[in-house]
Amino acid sequence: MKKNIITPVFIFLAVILTVTLTVTLSVTLTVTAAWAEGDEEVEHPEIVLMDKEGNEITGPGTAISGRTTCGECHDADEINRHTKHVNQKVKVECMDCHFKDGKTIGDYTQAHMMIRRPTSQNCVSCHGIAHTGSEPLSIPGDYTHNLEYTPGKKNYGMTQRTGAVISHQRISASALNLRDKSNRNAAWDVHARLQMDCLTCHNKREGQKAFNHDINTAACTSCHDALAGHNNLTYKEKHLEVLSCQSCHVSVIYGPAFRTVDRTVVDTAGSARVELRGVDESRSHGTSLNTKYYKGFLPFLFPSKENGGAKYRISPFNLVTRWYWKSRKTDETVPLEVVKQAYYAPGSSRYAGDILKVFDKNRDNRIDAGELVLDSEEKTALIAKKLAALGVEEPEIAGTVEAFKIKHGMVSASRMKWDCSVCHAGESKMGRDILLTAASPGGPKGIGPEFSKDLQPQIQGDITVAPGGEVLLKQTASVTGHYVFGHSRTQWLRQLGVWIFFLGIFFIVVHMGVRFVGRSKHSAAEQTTAPRYLYPFFDRFWHWLMAAIFTLTVLTGLEIHFTGSFKLFGLASAVSIHDVLTPILVGNVVLALLYHFTGGQRLKAFFGFNGKIVREALTRKGRRGEQNPNRFQRLTYIVLLNILLPFQVITGVLMWAAGFRDFAPIHNFGSWLFLTFLIIHLYLTTTGHGIFSRMRAMITGYDEEVVKTGEKPDDDRMNLADMRILDAVGTMIGRPGNN
């Protein structure tokens, strides 16, 4: 029967299929799992080493080819097609990453052929300095030799460009000669400290499903939720929006980052002259990089585009200046090999006689580090002549400044001792003058380098060359497009404010002079005084409360503006206090408003504006013998409370709540005016009949009023109410009687 045959076949097929699927799946899963954990090595089957042609390698000295060796089982061509590590310039072999020590040529032992997930040790054979052992970290002797990527040679690009050293070790435990070494207890790299290796982050981009040899960098946010932390950071959202994580989490860099690579000269080892950032040559000994004195350097902050996005964020950079010979005619860079020929005696790596004669100033028969720089016309001319003889058409020296984003060497928050003034101060991390080269080539006058054409970050500044050959970048804007509180200054507005402040002082001085000259006329007149109750208790309470708030606001405002110059509360606290005071101020005004309602005053009296007072204040009419607080005082009060206070509150709120940081200079200008009027107000309290009588009145409530002989004290009740309102809100009112 048909049916009887089909069923067993079907069952048989189903069983086969299930078994196959299960086996395949479980094998795949176990392999993936072990791979992902990175803990236990995957047992790789034995391989046959093959050369480019696919012939088995039997002896030492033949290069292994990944394409043929690994290509036996893996799709090596496909991998090579989409990895960044294989292209025109870079040709990385499978074994470079997957063999234990990345060895591809030589005599192999079983130990080398430990095929595994790449570790940091594999990556740094091309990228820089990494260190996993417990012995003190030191800088390899060939560190300055390979200045450009050379296949098959040890390269240190990442460390040379940015100073990044990937190590779990504490900086203090290294072999380097560091400033304040015993206190440098952070690890070189916090992620390395936590036993992460390169591939932990450089595995796949966010959203990408699996690792596919296209080595990408995962964003910090793929592991970290920045908004969840950072609670001690004032305005954390703003900070996180404009700054890359590294801007803060890369602190002082102690790694041997380059400042200058001067390829116009070569030493006898065939290397160009190198200047290192953060190294104090005057305190360094010997030529070894390990005995140099590392002061460390703070990276330079510039806005730049993030990973191809359109948005600019501030990130830390190192600037490296490269000097080189080029042909003016063909605009081609002279290769170092040709430069070497110009310097060396033919067929050797010793300096030629004429070179020695010109360069060796101290006649010790060798060219010392200080002598090996083209700091005179004679030296430059000699090399140019020799290069011309070697076939370089119209040789000239050129310099290029390149910027390298610093991404490694991060420290954890607990290891950071950031103070706000690191950025938010007049002299801070931002907008510093940057030393590009300590000794530039091109004769005694030196020459200025140019920014590289594909410069990534936005830098605004002028490159200046000092007579000694020192090349500086003087930044003209702190950080392009950002107003950094306490650091950025809108000079003209600030100066205007300061001038107005001094004008106020000038007014006070002139007024004092006039008072001093005119004092005799009035003192002669017989005066009697009578106490008069001017200010009710709540008025006085309100006044002093406002006075206290103003004082605090002004002080904290000054601290925010002049961070670093003096310290009262610390910037973070000052900002908080300043912010807290604003609602209190506004609230206090509202309170006064309520007081006026309960006190029965009309709304108009509160807000009413009457030009009369201004007129009275500005004319001299009735000034002498004025029994009420004089009109200047009223005017300052009006300006202070009706104009400047709302102005400051509004600009402040715009900055604080609405995020319009551009109002900062205006707010700053307003505060200068505020300060000016506050001082005038203070001064005018002394213009009563006695110097402290008005001040006393504001404390006790009673003023002693001058009464002309025979006259009764003024008992104008309306005037008294007027005063109360005046002092309560300081608002301009007309006499209710006049309405």
Binding site: Q169, R193, S576, I584
Partner: protein, 486 residues
């Protein structure tokens, strides 16, 4: 007036609100204050100059004690309740033994000089009393309390046979210069215990009298005294030595002064669940001076061998010393097992004299650092228990180099049967480390335990592998005694 009052009250209330609301809004989320460890450290008062009180020379040390007691009436009474005098504790239940028993230096064996009974002449030179020469010593005689050994600041006082002052000690000079115990006072016994400097405790040696910051951060950087942590009341000095006790009563914890979660990072604080503070903060022990790690009694008595206090002594046998050592690590819940005189041993195996209790399943246990002292010491081949020889005492091994006689002599003193045939068995003693705390900057780092070169043997500790990769004991649900509690 009513209106005025009402206005005034409303005004005050509203003003208060205006201040409080922004303050509450802005200032919440401020970090809590961390307790200051210094709050718990008692400031030692300047000790009164005692020189004018004592003018006549003392003939006997007991006279000094009597002179002290004239003013400090209760001093001896307080001290006599403590282990420094009794050399034994209150009755405790020792694991594996039915009845509670009083244990201490007085009656326990160790694997250094083995036991004090019959050897009082040497051993009791560290007793805070005078004249403990045999079991008949009167522990109620106040005048036998030795005040000077802890309180002498002259630096000239020393003890000799049976705890009596050493020959030539000027008692008057010592009595004139007394004060609170300093590091060198405690050190006389606790640094030199076991017959030499740094022998017993791997974490206590002469370098702690004037230590550097890196040797011990408390005593070096902060110049703290022993009694700053070993807080003392009525002569009862806190602290517990697991060589002579099995529990943590009267003990000290780092958390007596420090916050239980003192690190800035939560990852480190999570470690405190399973790792003792000491584990990371005592990176090495015997940092400056070597400590004894191995002692082989079986080699003793060889007149042929060249003597050298760090390798071989005829009276004691063969030693190994080590310096700047990496501790051994084990789970420890602050309780320990204890070998009691007469307990059976397996001579083929290593006998742990005071094995720390606790394992990965024990919620209260943490990974601790230990100095482990490994010895080979005599046992009775027939009865299969450890023997205590008379060594320093009259007719003992150190005088006549006759083991057989040494055990027979001991039998009469201790009452432990001796069959006449002895051998040597291996024993281990665990010394938890709490001193030589490195500054935070020299504490262990991640890589010390979580890397290929880990100093912890994770599998031996009960983990599947490195817990940074395979998860800790909570994640793997390894804790057993915690489940009952919820």
């Amino acid at each position: 007036m009513e209106t005025f009052k009402r206005n005034w009250l409303t005004g005050t209330g509203l003003t208060a609100l205006i201040f409080l609301i922004p303050l509450l809004l802005f200032l919440t989320g401020c970090s809590e204050n961390v307790e200051d460890p210094w709050d718990t450290v008692k400031k030692q008062r300047v000790h009164l100059d005692h020189a004018p009180f004592f003018t006549k020379p003392f003939d006997k040390p007991q006279e000094v004690t009597r002179a002290c007691l004239e003013c400090h009436e209760n001093a001896a009474k307080g001290l006599m309740k403590t282990a420094h005098w009794k050399w034994e504790g209150e009755p405790v239940k020792v694991p594996g033994h039915e009845k509670p028993m009083k244990i201490g230096k007085k009656n326990l064996l160790n694997n250094f000089c083995i036991g004090i009974r019959g050897n009082w002449v040497k051993c009791t030179s560290c007793h805070a009393g005078y004249g403990w020469a045999d079991d008949s010593f009167d522990f109620n005689e106040e005048e036998n309390v030795d005040c000077l050994i802890c309180h002498d600041w002259s630096g000239s006082y020393a003890k000799g046979a049976y705890g009596m002052p050493a020959k030539g000690v000027d008692l008057l000079a010592a009595a004139k210069r007394v004060g609170y115990p300093r590091r060198d006072n405690c050190g006389i016994c606790h640094i030199y215990g076991g017959g030499g400097m740094g022998v017993k405790h791997g974490d206590l040696d002469n370098s702690l009298v004037n230590p550097t910051e890196n040797t011990d951060v408390h005593m070096g950087k902060h110049n703290m005294l022993c009694i700053d942590c070993h807080k003392t009341e009525d002569h009862n000095i806190t602290g517990k030595a697991y060589s002579v006790s099995v529990g943590h009563e009267n003990g000290i914890d780092c958390t007596d002064c420090h916050n239980a979660a003192p690190h800035a990072g939560s990852r480190l604080n999570a470690h405190t669940e399973a790792v003792a503070c000491q584990t990371c903060h005592i990176s090495h022990y015997a940092k400056k001076a070597p400590t004894k790690t191995h002692w082989d009694w079986s080699k003793a008595g060889d007149s042929e061998r060249e003597e050298d206090p760090h390798h071989y002594l005829k009276i004691k046998g063969e030693f190994i010393y080590g310096k700047n050592l990496v501790p051994e690590y084990a789970w420890f819940n602050l309780k320990s097992y204890r070998y009691i005189l007469g307990d059976k041993i397996d001579p083929e195996k290593v006998t742990d004299l005071n094995k720390p209790m606790g394992d990965i399943t024990d919620k209260t246990a943490k990974i601790w650092p230990f100095k482990v002292h490994r010895a080979t010491q005599p046992y009775d081949k027939e009865f299969n228990y450890l023997l205590q020889p008379v060594t320093a005492g009259e007719g003992g091994f150190w005088h006549e180099f006759d083991w057989d006689k040494a055990f027979k002599l001991a039998k009469d003193i201790i009452g432990l049967e001796y069959s006449g045939s002895y051998g040597f068995a291996r024993t281990d003693m665990y010394w938890p480390l709490s001193h030589m705390v490195s500054p935070a900057s020299r504490a262990l780092q991640c890589a010390d335990c979580h890397s290929e070169k880990s100093r912890l043997d994770w599998k031996a500790l009960g983990y599947k592998g490195d817990p940074a990769k395979t998860g800790g004991r909570v994640a793997n649900k390894l804790i057993k005694n915690g489940e009952k509690e919820g």
